[in-house]
């Protein structure tokens, strides 16, 4: 398989179709329109592939919920304001244990904000986002290749745990083009007993999130919680870059991590020993791996394109173990590596 140069939005679409996604519904919103357009052009060429341009993001998430129940691999995508609209359906899918992939190509917020790349939806993504006690698996790719790989993995994870999985990228990830090689997808392993395809001659089934009896509902909540605990135990991913000899480690994900790498290069050229810890799964957050780093490194700087959201997860991992500083550029502002390098150098100079 040759390398191809594709935009992030198109990479997600192609990876999804290769992974067996056969149902996509979405509503246009910048900066993820190319993904919707890619699916419109290509998913119908795949056998049984369905594309619907929905009347709203709310309709889209419910369409994929229905198709997921019917047994298809499903995906919807949007950008920040549209993801807010989808929360009702994501909560419902989590409650009903319906697998599906939701892509958020984040833009500046709150409100309509702007269409520049931002990371202000971290809380929404990693804390569930909708109402009720649930989590979604959240993957934070940082390169074109990772967009391809993690999109395919997202479908497997969604099936494995029967839960919605979110891919959390931003406008820059969606728009930029990078060379990519698509890996061979795993064959789908999703039992028919979870699908709703008509009762045939057998017993009828129903899928629901409404549990009026509080004890039943409590049981269901704990069952979901046990599932989330297993995910938290088994599914964390992270990258460590130049942490071996580091005096200070930047914690950043997605585009921010790319900028941080650029900054680290400059800082290292000036003899500053700075490394990077990049969570790839944002929920579950690789808390223990980060804490393990604090055995030898006492200074961490969280860098986000937000006012400080992942910062809270870093604090949960490191509070009392190391010093934690923060630099943020919210609202669609994207700093250059040079700017970040200057900021980091200032913090670095205060290290004992």
């Amino acid at each position: 398989m040759n390398k191809v140069l594709m935009s992030g939005n198109n990479i997600i679409g192609e990876a999804a179709i290769r992974a067996g996604c056969r149902f996509y519904a979405g509503y246009p919103i910048t900066p993820q329109n190319e993904l919707t357009e890619y699916m419109a052009e290509h998913i119908r060429s795949a056998e049984g592939g369905v594309f619907i341009q929905s009347e709203s993001e709310i309709a889209a998430i419910n369409m994929i919920a229905g198709a997921s129940a019917a047994g298809l691999r499903v995906m919807t995508s949007s950008s920040s304001p549209g993801i807010s609209l989808k929360q009702e359906g994501i909560s419902s899918m989590a409650a009903c244990e319906l697998p599906g992939v939701i892509v958020n190509i984040m833009r500046g917020g709150p409100g309509l904000g702007n269409i520049r790349p931002a990371q202000g939806d971290y809380f929404q993504a990693t804390r569930g986002g909708g109402h009720g006690d649930y989590r979604t698996i959240v993957l934070g790719p940082a390169t074109g290749q990772e967009l391809a790989d993690l999109t395919m993995d997202a479908f497997d994870l969604a099936d494995k745990y029967r839960t919605p999985v979110m891919i959390l990228a931003d406008g820059m990830m969606g728009q930029m083009m990078e060379p990519v090689i698509f890996k061979k997808p795993h064959p789908r392993n999703y039992p028919e007993k979870f699908m709703l395809r008509g009762a045939g001659n057998g017993k009828s089934k129903f899928i629901r999130g409404l549990l009026l009896d509080p004890i039943d509902s409590e049981g269901h909540n704990w069952k979901l919680a046990r599932k989330y605990a297993v995910i938290a135990q088994n599914e964390t991913l992270r990258e460590e870059h130049l942490t071996q000899d580091a005096e200070m480690v930047i914690v950043a994900y997605g585009t921010a991590a790319r900028i941080a790498k650029g900054a680290i290069k400059r800082l290292r050229d000036h003899g500053l020993k700075v490394g990077l810890f990049r969570p790839i799964t944002l929920w579950p957050f690789p808390e223990m791996k980060l804490r393990a780093l604090s055995a030898g490194i006492k200074n961490f700087l969280v860098f986000e394109m937000s006012t400080g959201q992942m910062l809270e997860d870093v604090r949960l991992a490191l509070q009392g173990y190391a010093n934690i500083d923060f630099h943020g550029r919210p609202g669609g502002a994207v700093p250059t590596p040079a700017e970040l390098a200057n900021v980091v150098a200032k913090f670095y100079s205060k290290i004992d």
Partner: protein, 257 residues
């Protein structure tokens, strides 16, 4: 030799309805199940109950069912039907579900001509939440959120769903019925059967609006509720066939083949 003229439908579970005495839901459930039995489609039918009094419909319908968030039934049904085009998919919705919170989903599923059936229960009030004003509440009708009666200047007009939906291009068959009388019940059953047949024949979107009693929230006896439908509700929402393209579509299909 005696002949069986009435029995418990096979696709209706033997659970006791939680619906109030005199409620129209149980009638519509029963006749829908009779239709499913008569057409022999229990094994291929998938239903989508709404948020509202009928949210527990899966306790009664012995077919595969999945609950939709409030108003989203037609979107979910679209997803199911597009995934499984040879199944019979219906959403079951109340007036708030269809004509308020889910108006967009209902309108656009109809406009896309999704080959699904919507059973729309219009009882002019929100039942499950305790009798609040619905989009179909009559002018001057008292509800818990229109305590002085629905006033046009403050609350707008009763939404005439069948009239509006009859203008939508994607709609193939649309009839408004009433279950306020035995004759009305029989007519409703026939309409539901025709709608399911329309879907089975692949002819597109069908909807049956059913004027249905809610004695509890209307604060009436069951008998008065039936009378109120006939005397008041049916005047605002006249029963009848609002759109029927079935014959035309069949003819066009014959010409093509």
């Amino acid at each position: 030799m005696s002949k069986i003229v009435f029995q418990h439908p096979q696709s209706l579970k033997h659970n006791i309805f939680h619906y109030c005495p005199g409620c129209g839901h149980s009638i519509v459930h029963r006749i829908t199940c009779e239709v499913i039995d008569e057409m022999g489609i229990r094994g291929i039918t998938i239903g989508v109950p709404p948020a509202g009094c009928a949210v527990l419909a899966y306790n009664y319908f012995d077919v595969d069912m999945i609950e939709a968030p409030h108003g989203r039934g037609p979107a979910m049904a679209s997803g199911i039907k597009r995934s499984l085009p040879d199944r019979i998919v219906f959403s079951y919705q109340g007036d708030g579900d269809l004509a308020a919170i889910g108006m967009a989903e209902s309108f656009h599923a109809a406009n896309r001509g999704e080959n699904i059936t919507v059973i729309f229960i219009n009882n002019a009030v929100y039942g499950m939440t305790g009798g609040q004003m619905a989009p179909t509440t009559m002018l001057n009708q008292k509800t818990t959120t229109s305590p002085a009666g629905r006033q046009q200047r403050l609350d707008g007009y009763p939404v005439k769903v069948s009239e509006i939906f009859s203008k939508i291009g994607g709609v193939t068959y649309l009839e408004r019925c009433s279950v306020s009388s035995p004759a009305g019940v029989n007519k409703t059953k026939k309409a539901i059967k025709k709608a399911f047949q329309c879907q089975l024949d692949g002819l597109g979107f069908s909807m049956i609006e059913v004027l249905s009693m809610c004695p509890t929230n209307w604060k009436m006896s069951s008998v008065d509720s039936c009378k109120w439908i006939d005397d008041i509700l049916a005047k605002e929402f006249p029963p009848g066939i609002y759109k029927d393209e079935i014959a035309a579509l069949k003819k066009a299909a014959e010409v093509r083949s």
